[in-house]
Symmetry: C2
Subunit: 283 residues, 2 copies
């Protein structure tokens, strides 16, 4: 496995890879890899000749009071994990490489970025679409793999790719969970032991909602309240949002039907976590 740190070198690799007509799978990450990321790399390796993983903590998608400065990093460990999972190249640029002095261009998706995480993290998705656009242009992948833990991110990137006619297939991949149900996240490392335990209520409440829908419940208020009541039992957990919406359009729904996303964000102690479940609902 090779480490590439400049755009110029990455382009050279891509040129060589493409000459031989290899297909190229791409897994953009912010590093501190966990089983969720590794599942993306493994799938990319199954479906493509060459796999490129990027590790870049993107400053423009963090708000002023967020955790950019303390975002967990362990490049040595990431390198080993990526290689074992099947990565051929790791793209590991500096901030200056991705945002050279005097940069002025941004890519923005409107409307569907205003809600859910976008409501409490203004500018977050603009940062995400801008960096993903840059990375796609550098790597020119055939397929790019994203975890569905951030379902809104998947929807936003799919919208950008469609609208700008980018020549890449975005492949959403299932959430990977710890054995007790907690969705894998690089931020889980921030949790105290007590909060780690309380955080379980997030996945549990979503599974409960899924269960009552599968049993026939169609009243949005009842479903929402079931989640809220379930979470309210855990003192360290404060809900930021719970949304039941269409996926991937992220449109509000009145009647539960079709592909439905139940997404939530909550603070567990001082750590902001997200989780969701997507289900196919018959009317």
């Amino acid at each position: 496995m090779h480490i590439v740190s400049t755009v110029k070198d990455m382009r050279q690799v891509i040129r060589e890879v493409k000459v031989e007509n290899n297909t190229l799978g791409f897994v953009p990450t912010m590093g501190y890899l966990h089983e969720g990321h590794l599942s993306l790399i493994k799938r990319a390796k199954l479906e493509n000749d060459i796999v490129i993983v990027s590790i870049f903590v993107n400053p423009t998608q963090f708000g002023a009071n967020e955790d950019y400065d303390i975002y967990p990093k362990d490049f040595k460990r990431d390198k080993q994990l990526a290689e074992t999972a099947g990565a051929d190249y790791v793209f590991y640029p500096t901030v200056e490489e991705m945002y050279p002095t005097g940069y002025k261009t941004s890519v923005d998706v409107s409307e569907i970025t205003d809600r859910l995480c976008g409501a409490s993290r203004p500018g977050h998705f603009k940062g995400v679409t801008t960096i993903v656009n840059k990375l796609f242009n550098i790597v020119e992948p055939n397929r790019a793999y994203f975890g569905l833990k951030d379902a809104q991110q998947v929807a936003v990137i799919q919208q950008m790719v469609k609208d700008l006619f980018m020549n890449v297939e975005v492949i959403p991949c299932s959430i990977v969970r710890e054995s007790d149900g907690l969705a894998m996240s690089s931020r889980n490392v921030y949790l105290t032991q007590q909060d780690r335990s309380a955080a379980l209520i997030l996945s549990k409440s979503l599974m409960k909602a899924k269960k009552i829908i599968n049993e026939g419940e169609r009243d949005l208020k009842i479903i929402r309240n079931t989640i809220i009541e379930s979470i309210s039992k855990e003192a360290p957990v404060s809900v930021e949002y719970i949304e039941i919406i269409q996926f991937p359009s992220l449109e509000k729904i009145d009647i539960l039907e079709g592909k439905v996303l139940i997404a939530l964000a909550a603070k567990v102690g001082r750590v902001r976590l997200i989780d969701n479940v997507i289900l196919e609902v018959q009317k």
Copy 2:
């Protein structure tokens, strides 16, 4: 020469062209081709194996009170001119093809889009960068050719390409002028005979400015006033802006030195025209 009207068909053409390792030159236009456009097509043909010309009057770069609805069109004539100049394909999509229902994504370059034409045409360059980004993603050209009559547009697109790491070389091409000096423009067709004559003062005043600079004048106020006084003699001409700035940074200058752009916009009768001159100035 082939006419292609859908993104899907265009992609298919590109795939075929690329398999044979042909280089691809691209000339994006809004149609109603004149000698300026044809010079771009001819140059593209000289420097590439295959030339694609797009003809698309982009609605998102027109303001509410501008001339989108009456923008001149003559596809039959354009087709013949493009073919004679050396185009292999004309990409001629509908508005619905380029902006399908529900599109939400835009590409924006900040700061350098606020001045010159950007000041009086808010949103104009956002429309330009968004459509050019789409077109670049569809056509995947090696080189793209733009006329320097809209020098700001060239600077903005170069900035976008650099910032987003787009894999295309932007090639600025000299302004083509009528024998009497008027810069070629599709909008010249709007001019009455009287206004056509008055419009000559734009290029004349720029040439005058160039002359006095070449003769040693370095005082920005004097140069600017020379242009203003020259233009003020023509009653139907009202100046929108005259700017003397660095190119391609479009930064304000205190001292005339290096690559300098003198750009102006004016209404001639009811027609808005732009013109400029770029010169290399020794201190």
